[in-house]
């Protein structure tokens, strides 16, 4: 695996297989920063949604992963593509809206799974979605497996 060890990485998103790499890298990075199991699962799921958006709607792109400093450690994920962009952001963020064949939970759902969420997109100029998550102050007592 090309990303073993570090938290910082830049991964291409061009195929199904790349989605798997993205999920595995985010899982590893979150675990390394001491995220709880539920926090890890939420973040990996959000990353999976966003990476799939990049692949399906943006025609492929990349994900950048970087650690965040703060009172508790965090992680920033940036998904970018050079695709057609999003014409109506509000609409795209609404639940149930879909331009593909998904459930229309991608963007809106991912937003609920992270702490910080921002989209930068213009028609024809690609899309960049940045999310940030911080480890919660309350480590779960049951997750010391």
């Amino acid at each position: 695996m090309q990303t073993a060890g570090g938290v910082s990485a830049c991964l291409p998103i061009h195929s199904d297989m790349d989605l798997v790499w993205v999920r595995q890298h985010v899982r590893q990075a979150a675990a390394q920063l001491g995220f709880g199991l539920v926090e890890q699962t939420k973040l990996v799921t959000a990353a999976s949604e966003l990476a799939r958006n990049t692949l399906v709607h943006g025609g492929g792109g990349q994900m950048e992963c970087a650690p965040l400093e703060g009172r508790s450690p965090g992680l920033r994920l940036t998904f970018s593509d050079d695709g057609p962009g999003i014409a109506d952001l509000d609409q795209a963020l609404r639940d149930g809206y879909t331009s593909g064949d998904g459930l229309g939970m991608g963007l809106g759902g991912a937003r609920r799974l992270v702490h910080d969420f921002s989209v930068d997109s213009r028609p024809g100029a690609g899309t960049t979605v940045t999310v940030a998550v911080w480890k919660s102050g309350a480590p779960r007592p049951r997750e010391e497996r």
């Binding site: 539920v38 919660s136 102050g137 309350a138 480590p139 779960r140 007592p141 049951r142």
Partner: protein
């Protein structure tokens, strides 16, 4: 921070103070060992107090020599932090207020100033002023560092206690084979609801429980956020193959829920924990036989 130009080849005041602190560290440590801050912590041995005082004096000397008397982020203060965090934290645990600790750190200054004045007996009045000012600034920074340490220790204590409270406040009880319950007492906020949800669902797996009961008899108010968390817990339990029952909704809370327009339609509710248990047992195929009809059966 080049505030003043050193006259001729004379040292800057900061450097002079640094040299002085290093040279006189033994005397300073001896005097500090008798000061309240060190004395109360190192009650076992005075030698330890002297040792700690020497370490702090050396660190201050390093900070001064680096010309960073007013920078609490200076590397040298890291040593002070380490050395004093133990000291200050134990003072704080013993119940000292921030103001007391601040005064105690302040009390470290006069003996050092006295020594410095004695050292500079031959120097010009201007030079004495320069050096004592540098020392005062340095001691002020020390005070800042100590207070920072104390306050972050306090914050750690609060964080730890908050955690303990969360754990204590969410006991999952196995009521029967395949039935678990959490009796919730006190206000539910977002963080606690999250912990409740996770502990309850974990125990559903551990106990292989088909029924999970959330009893909110002891919860004073239910707002839309809490109701939302209850519904999320119910939905998550359902996805796992368990049924979640909310019991103990008091009339006042039922009123609020209706008033807020919250739809708990998808949530299975029962008036009391006993009713919820009876329901779960019945669903499991257990017959509850009682010689005397219970009041609950009349509802």
């Amino acid at each position: 921070m080049p505030e003043r130009e050193a006259a001729g080849n004379q040292q800057t005041p900061e450097h002079a103070v640094g040299d002085f602190l290093l040279r006189r560290r033994e005397q300073i440590a001896q005097r500090w060992a008798d000061a309240a801050l060190f004395r109360t912590v190192f009650t076992v041995s005075r030698d330890e107090a002297v040792e700690a005082g020497r370490a702090v004096a050396e660190a201050l000397a390093a900070a001064a020599a680096a010309g960073r008397v007013e920078d609490p982020e200076a590397n040298a203060f890291a040593v002070v932090r380490e050395q004093l965090s133990r000291t200050a934290a134990s003072r704080s645990r013993a119940g000292s207020t921030i103001a007391q600790i601040s005064a105690e750190v302040d009390a470290l200054r006069p003996p050092v100033t006295d020594l410095l004045r004695a050292d500079l007996a031959d120097a010009s009045a201007e030079r004495v002023l320069e050096c004592t000012t540098a020392l005062t600034v340095l001691m002020g920074t020390l005070r800042l560092v100590v207070l920072e340490t104390v306050m972050s220790a306090g914050q750690e204590l609060i964080d730890r206690q908050r955690l303990q409270l969360l754990e204590v406040a969410t006991p999952v009880i196995k009521l029967w084979e395949g039935i678990v319950a959490v009796p919730l007492i006190g206000t539910l906020d977002s963080a606690r609801s999250q912990v409740v949800m996770e502990t309850l669902l974990d125990s559903v797996v551990e106990q292989h429980a088909r029924f999970a009961i959330l009893d909110i008899t002891g919860v004073p108010t239910v707002d839309s956020l809490v109701a939302q968390h209850l519904m999320k817990t119910v939905a998550a339990a359902r996805l796992m193959g368990a049924e979640c029952i909310v019991s103990g909704i008091r009339p006042a809370i039922a009123q609020t829920i209706v008033h807020l327009g919250i739809d708990l339609g998808s949530v299975l509710t029962r008036a009391s924990l006993a009713d919820a248990l009876a329901y779960a047992l019945q669903q499991q195929g257990a017959d509850i036989v009682s010689a005397v009809p219970s009041p609950a059966s009349h509802r």
